[in-house]
């Protein structure tokens, strides 16, 4: 979701339909559909909407055609169906619908018509401060789509509106713990809810400061392993500086490279780091544990599902959404009970097998049996020569090479020679983020 930057400073909003003459549709049904659209947003937020008959209502709704005095003329039937103004004084919040469309009201359907409710619920999202989202199933996707009969506000929109205005009740907050209103957060002193006036969404939330060193986790396996070195991070505005930090996990997800550190993730594409990042991991993958301070490993399975390893458990996601039945213990994968965590997980393109790394050992996963293959674990150094032990992350990049990360350095592994290309590691910041 994307926040425009403006929001209403009160939650009891009023609205008014200011068009008296509607040629093709019944005035009463129009008001009914508009009210229904407002209630979609009210259901999931602290907002309330009351219809009034007044020019001074917060949100005025007009049906207009062609040039109508706001610099955004309508184009006749089809194409652009409506637009709305972001919150503010004057025209702020108002919604304009193209009078020349074939509007359908009261849940009527037709091959040639457009549901007023469907368009209105999108436009009122703008009236409340939401910009367009590129999430295809979101209401705020720019191109209108039909709604299912059992319609529920998609997560993308729901989180967006709740970030702006808070959720209706604790039950909904329970779904998204990171987005509780200030009054419900455990430590208000750590909360800085800000919305960038330049929009494009950077929301700082209640979170444990990662300036505090993370307690090292100690292995308790029969095979002695060294404790993990506390992550090293230079912190600017409570977010790690990618030029001067190690990473908890790195993975190719949907063709982009995601770097995970603490509660944040960066997304690296062909043109560099995407705008809007780092983002809270919980904003992209919902319902991860509230007290999660870091992920251990992440990888995208061949079927597109995304696996997160956190401590002794792993989570499975379909896109952003957690799948039922998870998290599950690592032991259900055939990993030993003594294992406190995994360090890295990759699908290796040369044989499409999944490899799990932890400490000095690695396992190979058999997708058919859902268990680790026999003859594993093996010593990392016996096969992944030069990659070292106790790695932070590993992944196979678009160039076909496998990369191993540890502290602030990485090694490129030559998959044909089966050894690292050079003994000396290279700097993660310099290579991956163009840091100098």
């Amino acid at each position: 979701y994307t926040l425009q930057g403006q929001k209403w400073h009160h939650v009891n909003l009023t609205w008014s339909l200011r068009t008296r003459r509607l040629d093709k549709v019944d005035h009463g049904w129009v008001r009914s559909d508009l009210n229904k659209a407002f209630q979609v947003w009210a259901k999931y937020s602290k907002l309330t909407f009351r219809e009034v008959n007044s020019e001074s209502a917060d949100i005025l709704v007009f049906f207009e055609k062609g040039y109508h005095g706001d610099g955004y003329p309508f184009d006749g039937p089809g194409q652009v169906l409506a637009h709305a103004f972001f919150p503010g004084t004057g025209r702020g919040g108002d919604a304009h619908f193209d009078e020349e469309e074939e509007w359908l009201v009261a849940d009527k359907t037709s091959k040639d018509g457009t549901s007023l409710f469907r368009v209105a619920v999108h436009e009122f999202g703008h009236s409340l401060g939401l910009s367009h989202s590129s999430a295809e199933d979101a209401l705020m996707f720019p191109w209108y789509q039909d709604l299912k009969s059992n319609f529920e506000l998609p997560n993308d929109d729901r989180i967006g509106i709740q970030v702006l205005y808070g959720a209706k009740n604790d039950k909904i907050w329970g779904d998204i713990p990171a987005y509780r209103p200030t009054s419900q957060r455990p430590d208000p002193s750590t909360t800085v809810p800000t919305i960038s006036s330049t929009a494009r969404t950077v929301i700082t939330k209640s979170m444990t400061s990662i300036t505090n060193p993370i307690t090292p986790v100690t292995y308790t396996t029969s095979r002695p392993m060294p404790p993990r070195r506390p992550p090293v991070a230079v912190v600017v505005d409570d977010k790690p500086d990618f030029c001067n930090t190690s990473f908890d996990a790195v993975s190719i997800i949907r063709k982009d490279t995601f770097f995970f550190k603490g509660k944040y993730t960066w997304r690296l594409g062909p043109k560099g780091v995407y705008a809007g990042y780092p983002a809270l991991i919980s904003r992209l993958w919902y319902n991860l544990p509230e007290d999660m301070n870091q992920v251990d490993a992440v990888y995208e399975r061949l079927d597109g599902k995304i696996v997160f390893f956190i401590g002794r458990q792993y989570y499975l996601f379909d896109g952003n959404n957690p799948l039922r039945g998870y998290p599950k213990p690592l032991t259900t994968l055939g990993l030993p009970e003594e294992l406190d965590r995994v360090d890295a997980a990759i699908v290796w393109g040369h044989n499409s097998k999944t490899y799990i790394f932890s400490g000095t050992m690695y396992w190979r996963f058999d997708d058919e049996t859902g268990q680790m293959e026999l003859d594993y674990p093996r010593d990392i150094s016996s096969v992944w020569r030069g990659a070292g032990y106790n790695i932070d992350a590993a992944f196979q990049w678009h160039d076909g090479a496998t990369y191993f990360f540890k502290n602030r350095d990485f090694w490129k592994f030559n998959d044909l020679r089966m050894r690292v290309e050079q003994e000396e590691p290279r700097s993660i910041g310099e290579f991956w983020f163009n840091c100098t």
């Binding site: 194409q79 709305a84 191109w143 209108y144």
Partner: protein, 97 residues
């Protein structure tokens, strides 16, 4: 004198013109800067259009080719909201009633 419309003309078919003005579409929804409307510079190099189309295709969740392919044409024909995708349309929220 107004042209008499044929009763056989499908309203919907008439209402979905192909966006031949690709630049206009890209500017309207924030993928190309509108400043060129002011400067009169209508000539863009291929890479600008290519990048703008890629961004549109990314936003629309269709294959990213950077070209005006069939999927992009179909996307541009779809009914949509008039608010800009990339940034709030300048002045839209500031305009006073």
């Amino acid at each position: 004198r107004p042209i008499q419309e044929s009763n056989n003309t499908s309203r919907r078919a008439r209402s979905t013109p192909i966006y031949e003005d690709v630049q206009g579409y890209l500017m309207k929804f924030g993928y190309l800067p509108e400043s060129d409307l002011e400067t009169g510079n209508n000539l863009r190099d291929g890479s600008q259009l290519h990048d703008a189309l890629r961004t549109l295709q990314t936003f629309g969740n269709i294959p990213i080719t950077g070209k005006l392919d069939e999927a992009t044409k179909q996307l541009m024909k779809r009914p949509r909201c008039g608010v800009s995708d990339i940034s709030p349309t300048a002045g839209q929220h500031r305009t006073k009633r």
